[in-house]
Amino acid sequence: MAPEALAHVLRPLHDLFRADQFPALLVGLEVSDDAAVYRVSGDVAVIQTLDFFTPVVDDPYDYGAIAAANAMSDVYAMGGEVALALNICGFPPSLPAETIAEILRGGAERVLEAGGVLAGGHTVDDEEPKYGLSVMGLVHPDRILIKGGARPGDLLALTKPLGAGLIATAAKGDAADPAHLLPAVASMKRLNREAARLAQQVGVHACTDITGFALLGHGCEMAEKSGVRLRLHLDRLPFLEGAIRYADEWLFPAGTCRNAACFGSQVGFAAEISEELRQLLFTPETSGGLLVAAPPERMDRLAAAGRGAGQPFWVVGEVTAGEGIEVVRE
């Protein structure tokens, strides 16, 4: 659904639940973010989120794993740990049982790796397969990571390379080299758990995850909620092998146009940046990494800690005063 259409549909519901009537809801009404956060005690807040989608890759196990990683990502984007998950399933009656079993196994093993427990779920019949999770996470109420805390002078870092969404799209049309798809799938299956843990440990000002609205869409959200401007350096952005080639071949999904239409007016590009690259930065990611904003000294420590833990933090830009995003070449 296009972002503006969605916002329009949700608007009347805003007044149904007034933030002052629900003081325990720390995030979700007046301040919305990647997930809802509800305080249950002095030092525990519950994170609640859900996500599901149609198959992104052919292999059922990988599909399940990617969908699960994607759903849990919002818990990490809020700085929490995964506690509990429930399956959300829609399968055609004709889908073989072994295939369904593989999808669920992929999802279950991700939840296990996240340290959470998969405790049930719900399945309906559906023409097109759908799979994902409803996830409950936990975080200390004072240590919630939100999109809106970035400050001028902060540096920006990404924890996963870009382009997995485009590569998966190309692969669905048999237009991708298998050698490109493998690393893209591995990247999508990876949890943002370690990245979030390090971000909490070192301390960051803002955090969000890069998914359906692409780097530029989620970046705009961070810029808007923080009241700042982001400057991204094209040459420092990490891309998966093959992403730029499929961009050159113009294999963009419909989501690219939607994101460009929705966020395009807030983004400025250096003149020499090609149309193909601009479109690529508006292309939806699936189960992408985190985008974090932190002051330079902390970013140094974060990158160093990341190196030690095998979790990259690519520094891709900085936060300045102003609004929107500018993408520059140098």
Partner: protein
């Protein structure tokens, strides 16, 4: 309330297709079979991408092109039209877009002479001397007045797109009406003037038609200047 939106939407991975997927015959509920058809310009594979979201139209068109031959893709949205056209042009094909009632038809084929830009080969500019265009009537040719009017309008439109440009255009007799207010070729003449073409209209003729105050482009000239220009020209083209 924070509300997320997922990608992707209507794409179907092959192994996870529902009924009909396994035995390869089904293409799912959406989209029609892609097949070959004889079309005006020769055999062309048809890709009916109406109702499909990007990148399906792009991907299917690509596959059909790779199989060889010309392809006609039918889409129903501007975004699909843009994306398919873009992909095909980048891959070196020529795309003709026809808007019909039931959809947008994209005729995609190899360019006639690969490597040559669409359009005539650039004409060689004359080695020396001015190129003068002499327009002595507001119509082109004899035999049918309205047709003559259409032809001269077409001529001045075409002038804007071909090479070389004349250095000077001279209007004589009823030709001066073309440089006066209300002329159907005024915009084209102004564009030519902006590109450096000198435009001269015979003052006597303007006076004869009562258009002295209505000359809307270029300068009013006299027979001496016009005579000098014609005789000193490298080449004179007489319409």
């Amino acid at each position: 309330m924070g509300h997320g939106r997922s990608e992707p939407q209507s794409c179907r991975a092959t192994e996870l297709q529902g009924a009909g997927g396994r035995d390869g015959t089904g293409r799912g509920a959406r989209g029609k079979e892609d097949g070959a058809s004889g079309d005006g310009g020769g055999m062309s594979t048809i890709v009916d991408a109406r109702g499909l979201a990007c990148p399906q139209p792009v991907i299917r068109t690509r596959k059909a092109l790779q199989a060889g031959g010309a392809v006609t893709t039918i889409v129903d949205s501007e975004i699909s039209r843009q994306n398919v056209t873009r992909m095909a042009e980048k891959a070196g094909y020529r795309v003709l877009v026809e808007r019909r009632e039931d959809g947008i038809y994209l005729d995609i084929r190899q360019p006639e002479t690969p490597g040559l830009p669409s359009g005539a080969p650039a004409a060689v500019a004359p080695a020396g001397g001015t190129l003068v265009l002499l327009v002595s009537s507001e119509t082109m040719g004899r035999g049918d007045e309205p047709l003559g009017g259409i032809l001269i309008r077409g001529f001045f439109h075409a002038l804007g797109e071909v090479q070389p440009l004349p250095d000077i255009i001279i209007f004589l007799n009823s030709g001066v009406k073309l440089a006066a207010a209300g002329s159907p070729v005024l915009d084209d003449l102004r564009a030519l003037a902006e590109r450096g073409v000198a435009i001269l209209s015979c003052g006597t003729c303007l006076g004869h038609f009562g258009l002295k105050e209505q000359c809307a482009v270029g300068e009013i000239s006299n027979m001496y200047a016009i005579a000098e220009t014609l005789l000193g020209a490298g080449k004179v083209v007489n319409l």
